[in-house]
Symmetry: D4
Subunit: 238 residues, 8 copies
Amino acid sequence: MTHLPDSGPLPGVHDLGYARLDTDRLERTGDAEVVYGAGKTPVQIVELLRTLHSTHGGRAALATRLSPEAQELVAVELPEAVVDPVGRTAVLGTVPAPSGTVAVVSAGTSDAPVAAEAATTAGVFGAGVELITDVGVAGLHRVLGVRERLAAADCLIVVAGMEGALPSVVGGLTGVPLVAVPTSVGYGASFGGVAALLGMLNSCAPGVTVVNIDNGFGAGVFAARVARRAAPIEVKEQ
Amino acid sequence: MTHLPDSGPLPGVHDLGYARLDTDRLERTGDAEVVYGAGKTPVQIVELLRTLHSTHGGRAALATRLSPEAQELVAVELPEAVVDPVGRTAVLGTVPAPSGTVAVVSAGTSDAPVAAEAATTAGVFGAGVELITDVGVAGLHRVLGVRERLAAADCLIVVAGMEGALPSVVGGLTGVPLVAVPTSVGYGASFGGVAALLGMLNSCAPGVTVVNIDNGFGAGVFAARVARRAAPIEVKEQ
Amino acid sequence: MTHLPDSGPLPGVHDLGYARLDTDRLERTGDAEVVYGAGKTPVQIVELLRTLHSTHGGRAALATRLSPEAQELVAVELPEAVVDPVGRTAVLGTVPAPSGTVAVVSAGTSDAPVAAEAATTAGVFGAGVELITDVGVAGLHRVLGVRERLAAADCLIVVAGMEGALPSVVGGLTGVPLVAVPTSVGYGASFGGVAALLGMLNSCAPGVTVVNIDNGFGAGVFAARVARRAAPIEVKEQ
Amino acid sequence: MTHLPDSGPLPGVHDLGYARLDTDRLERTGDAEVVYGAGKTPVQIVELLRTLHSTHGGRAALATRLSPEAQELVAVELPEAVVDPVGRTAVLGTVPAPSGTVAVVSAGTSDAPVAAEAATTAGVFGAGVELITDVGVAGLHRVLGVRERLAAADCLIVVAGMEGALPSVVGGLTGVPLVAVPTSVGYGASFGGVAALLGMLNSCAPGVTVVNIDNGFGAGVFAARVARRAAPIEVKEQ
Amino acid sequence: MTHLPDSGPLPGVHDLGYARLDTDRLERTGDAEVVYGAGKTPVQIVELLRTLHSTHGGRAALATRLSPEAQELVAVELPEAVVDPVGRTAVLGTVPAPSGTVAVVSAGTSDAPVAAEAATTAGVFGAGVELITDVGVAGLHRVLGVRERLAAADCLIVVAGMEGALPSVVGGLTGVPLVAVPTSVGYGASFGGVAALLGMLNSCAPGVTVVNIDNGFGAGVFAARVARRAAPIEVKEQ
Amino acid sequence: MTHLPDSGPLPGVHDLGYARLDTDRLERTGDAEVVYGAGKTPVQIVELLRTLHSTHGGRAALATRLSPEAQELVAVELPEAVVDPVGRTAVLGTVPAPSGTVAVVSAGTSDAPVAAEAATTAGVFGAGVELITDVGVAGLHRVLGVRERLAAADCLIVVAGMEGALPSVVGGLTGVPLVAVPTSVGYGASFGGVAALLGMLNSCAPGVTVVNIDNGFGAGVFAARVARRAAPIEVKEQ
Amino acid sequence: MTHLPDSGPLPGVHDLGYARLDTDRLERTGDAEVVYGAGKTPVQIVELLRTLHSTHGGRAALATRLSPEAQELVAVELPEAVVDPVGRTAVLGTVPAPSGTVAVVSAGTSDAPVAAEAATTAGVFGAGVELITDVGVAGLHRVLGVRERLAAADCLIVVAGMEGALPSVVGGLTGVPLVAVPTSVGYGASFGGVAALLGMLNSCAPGVTVVNIDNGFGAGVFAARVARRAAPIEVKEQ
Amino acid sequence: MTHLPDSGPLPGVHDLGYARLDTDRLERTGDAEVVYGAGKTPVQIVELLRTLHSTHGGRAALATRLSPEAQELVAVELPEAVVDPVGRTAVLGTVPAPSGTVAVVSAGTSDAPVAAEAATTAGVFGAGVELITDVGVAGLHRVLGVRERLAAADCLIVVAGMEGALPSVVGGLTGVPLVAVPTSVGYGASFGGVAALLGMLNSCAPGVTVVNIDNGFGAGVFAARVARRAAPIEVKEQ
């Protein structure tokens, strides 16, 4: 017995052999599929970006978790793409006009890749983005110094590793919806981000929600959806 | 040496001896403090509800996790309060006029208490609420049957125990921001809700965020904040 | 003291020095032993396949978990063998005429290796096999589209990583016996497949059984045993 | 804000207020819904059994996980029901004529409740059932003594706590499809059945599948589905 | 065979049959033994307190983890003892003149018992104690308001449950040696204090040490040892 | 369908309905079966002890894990039995003449029940027993004081909870075979004995083996088997 | 500040700079120290073996966990040493005349390295050793075939990975003291040997003790101590 | 959308692009920031050391967790720095005159890197340091031999891997404040230091505090703070 051929073509699917693009997703959820780069070859990523871009009418196509090799090939083959080596992302095509604001707040310099992935994703998914880095809780003056900028956002993404305390501190300062992203930054009993994840799930500040460890992409999608449907700030007089 | 007297009174705090109400929170975050009933006596809960109500100008005061005894005393002492035995909550005072809509979706009848806590909380925090129960993934026709109602909400709360698969299914059907609540419903290797929690954190549907096990209150606060700042649906022509 | 010589030859055992083939297993259980390739050298694997083949009268011999090097050597040394680079298997000899049908369903493209291993195994162990890939729960239309093919099988193998929700959805659509295989696909709090494993063990659909993480082989053996003893479908009028 | 009324009646659902029976399941999967007794009052259980029985044309209705109080009330209110205090089950109505055979094997006397639940479930779901108890691996002569009875079954359910070794031993003796059920029997580092669960997932015998800890019901459903579609033994000349 | 008589009397041990007091410990470590009340009867606790008191020359004897029944009997039988129902402690005899200062800081009202145990212990072990309660990180103004009192202590004990973020915030504000005590306050994925414990072990503020969950006693002993050997503040001009 | 009758009588088994005694075990392993009292009624325990005693020619029969009620009934019904309320055991019949010596060493008074169970078991299984209690590592003078008695034993059982450090200290002082028993004594992050179990498995002293948490019985059986086959000390001149 | 010089020389210690040999251990425990090779350079291992050998009067010196490079250098530099590439050990000097017998039993070919380490260690520590390999529980005929050889040993070492069931089966067949060694062989939910470790700790056969995962050395030391003090078999007439 | 520019310069922060130095920390806590070398390039580390040194008036600047490459570049570029290859640290500038004494005690040679990191850190943070190595509990004579040196310190740092028993033994010998550091030394069920961490958290010796696994730096900071505020020993006559 040999490897069986799979079931035939399906509507709403663009089959590339090694991957199938769910071209129906845009209609179903309002957002297009993206390229998750981990485990894919640079050549595949370039082709997937091109295909997503062309099958969605020039809409910005996003690729995440790109290896340095993939970033390099994308830069060569798709010179109009914007590659971010910090967040390991590439964007091909024009991002939407921003609607609402997502503020991405991170605790330490090691959290930068996850924060950048979240920021780029939120932008591609239609939100305006503000990045506020290096405001760890061991230096409270920095958090307090950006308090007004936090309160002005429509949705907050708070990125932290180690003990993951920043969302509790930020969540106590403002009532803006807050998505916490634990990162795998830490060592010993941080268990690859589990300590930060548990800290965020148990936050004493009400209204904090959490995504998977290092999942900047998921936080970006969620926050953009919140921000872009938010009414302009001056309307929110409750 | 005996038990030392504590530090003196503080601004923004209402001290009842056994608890201190953070009366400054409303100004800081836009939402008032609530009474977490677990570990408090019925008499304390009644007093706390009364105090919250009177110090916040008649605004609706919420108490959660009430024992049957506490529910009974609240009903007797505060007859104008609305007590919900399913969600184990009590609300004293008029809830705000609803702004935006939160849809609370639950998988099984055992998830009802958590779903009810989330629904009541979202209402007290200013959102309109729709409750859609018993739409477990083992009977997909029910989920598909409510698809339009899901898409019409400003924020979704999806409550499920056991394997916690419902948020993935719902998240694939719509692009509405979705907060997942794992419940401790299950047995054996469900580990008191850990299986559902992990399932939700690893959801293959993008844009799913998660709160702590059985934390209907936290989901309700978050979702209400999203919903009440959402622009009316007809405006969202992006 | 040096390394002691081991006990002498035993009946029902073919001793190759670095491994012993349990040649009695076929009689005991109706199925022959297979070559588990992990940790063995390409040369050993070739010899083991040849020996299994010759000591079992030309019956198809299966090797699993083959490294690229092992696949290459098998292709060169045993040109009549069928090597599957996706499932990392090799089969030497004629597979049995298929009896009954196993449908192997997988959630995402990353689950393909485990699904292929399961499919090849089920074929070698005597069942007909149908492969249905890329039907993740975040795009329900695909699952619903193959519903009749699922119902027509004698046993289902459902392969999924991340939250492992697919078995619950499939198990709610049909009463065919269902074996779930969690894969190590995922990141962060997926813990190398533990999230999917727990999700499957806690499935709300009755009649779902589970094998170890990435254990496509075990699922294939089990499902083939179920399928090949199933009576033809038209007889099952209960 | 008070507890919101839920969504209206749905097709394929029988609504009892505190629970909804999925009356469509029989058509969808070939098996009717059952009453999971944990967390339900004796009065509710009696009503649910009656309703299941009447809405399914007198087909046998099953209730599991019944407290002593529930067993007692069922015996009084539904005298025609068969109540099993060991397996904590009740069956109302005539079980189907058995088709195929499930052998339920258990390791120790403490595993009896889970084994009985599995046996009763398999019977209600249409299989013939044979119960073989107390064949722990520390006394191999007992396992070996029932070898022929094991080989004659169409599906095996093997129930064990502590180290959960019995499925490996049984699975090495026969090629009959085998579902292993870990039980929470044990102490110390058995962690409420986790040791047995891990043992079974890692069984060195191929073709062993596993269900959740103490989940005799799930194993019974699965095994009955396998057994009742098995061709009569004399046909299986492969 | 019956229960064997144990080995005979030993120097430095006062044998009461059901317990042995290590009367040599005072000389060895500078601190006397205490009565750990969990699992002991009220009568035993009274006798142990009396014995400790008399064998150590009237030095203050401490008992911890006292049940309400034990507290009551101690109050009746040893009227000169000071019983603290919050911290569940009793102290018989005069506490030493305080040397140095320990500040005990706690996050929420539910952390009060652990904070009180730490405070009483530190006092009995020779330190002056200041108690600062209810300064959770979700209301930063309170932490910032006590900043000077924190900086004036010789050692800090910071008690917190849930996500355990308070030590990171306090540790960023001052260089005083800081012992963090995680409490079992929380629910769901707090896992009985594990979330707080991990948070504290991974604190981003340098110089934070941790004791076991709810171990106010251990923190009190440690902090008192630090405080009482501290030079008066005016000397520390480094 | 009702609860099926089980398989018929078996050789080497004495069937009491609710339990089966493995009367063949004595011949197979040299040791008779014992009564594990947990989960059995007092009446059953009395009957099992009587039966074991009579079917094994008056040999001492052991029952472990007896509740206070079971201890009481045994004392009334079997006045010749020796009941130990500390170790929760009962012994009916004459213990064998002791052969070799087992020394049972325990760390704290809370470890006494497990140590007593180990000591009684070792005696019933044929060894001489010496009990050395309360030699925790926080008071090293006591361990050092019994060093010669430790070295004179044929096998050591070392019982400890909390951090489980005693086996490492004892194992560094002598070369006698050492079985470590972790106990569930402790709190917080002791996780019911897991901390002690891990400590013992990772002991830096070579030649330490471990049994399950609180498993004094298992340690007693093992140590007695070692001790009773040990040659008299004067022969061991190596 | 730079790296401080350490404390001076100590009696009973041979200082090599990068390691200190505890030359007093032989007198204290009857057994000499060994070289744990992991993390040491080949040159260091050669020097340590030489030093141990010369400081202990030619007694056999053992090194374990040797990398291929270390094995090679030992073979070149110490040609009289016996190097075992399977068990990754080297022995320099004459092993003692064997006293008593240790039987090392292993389940699969992948367990061979741990079994070989245990066997070599037991020999160096003074016992006679018999190696019985490849007797996994999935082929019971092999275990039963060596039953007499098992019963003739003074101590058993049973090595198994995956579900770790072999000690339960062997422990039910004989009353010889049994040390179980879990190995890290397995995948998925075997968690690097944890499944086997838990299985062995929860063995239903009484008298099974356990060592750390892959710790063949520890089992060898322990078993040799038991065997070499065992009286010749003909004396043990109990 | 491309990577957004971050927020502008902040007071008390020295921005180097890839990192920001918290230059305000010295004033806030009395101690300057340090360079955590993991994940930074050698060039960055050299620049950070230089910057810290120059912005803090020549005060000793510390870098930890340096790779061999980083150590080499520091030695070349900053020849006046003191590089310690054991502890993987570099110190640039004059350490403060020592105040008080920290004794760093370690169990085995493998714990040396963590002990050295702790010792260097304590020195840079202003304490006198004494290093006492290789005093594992399996050779108690060594611990007892240094008892007076332990009692003479102002704070103890006790470093141990495997079962982590050393702090319990040391803590029972002296009343000096004791910080325990678990190391990741061990294998199998040591779980990368978790066994040692749990052992230390559950120490039976009162007054033991713990830091994260391998966190020599944190222990050094804490201990130095205790030691440098300690009054000279002759004053401590309590």
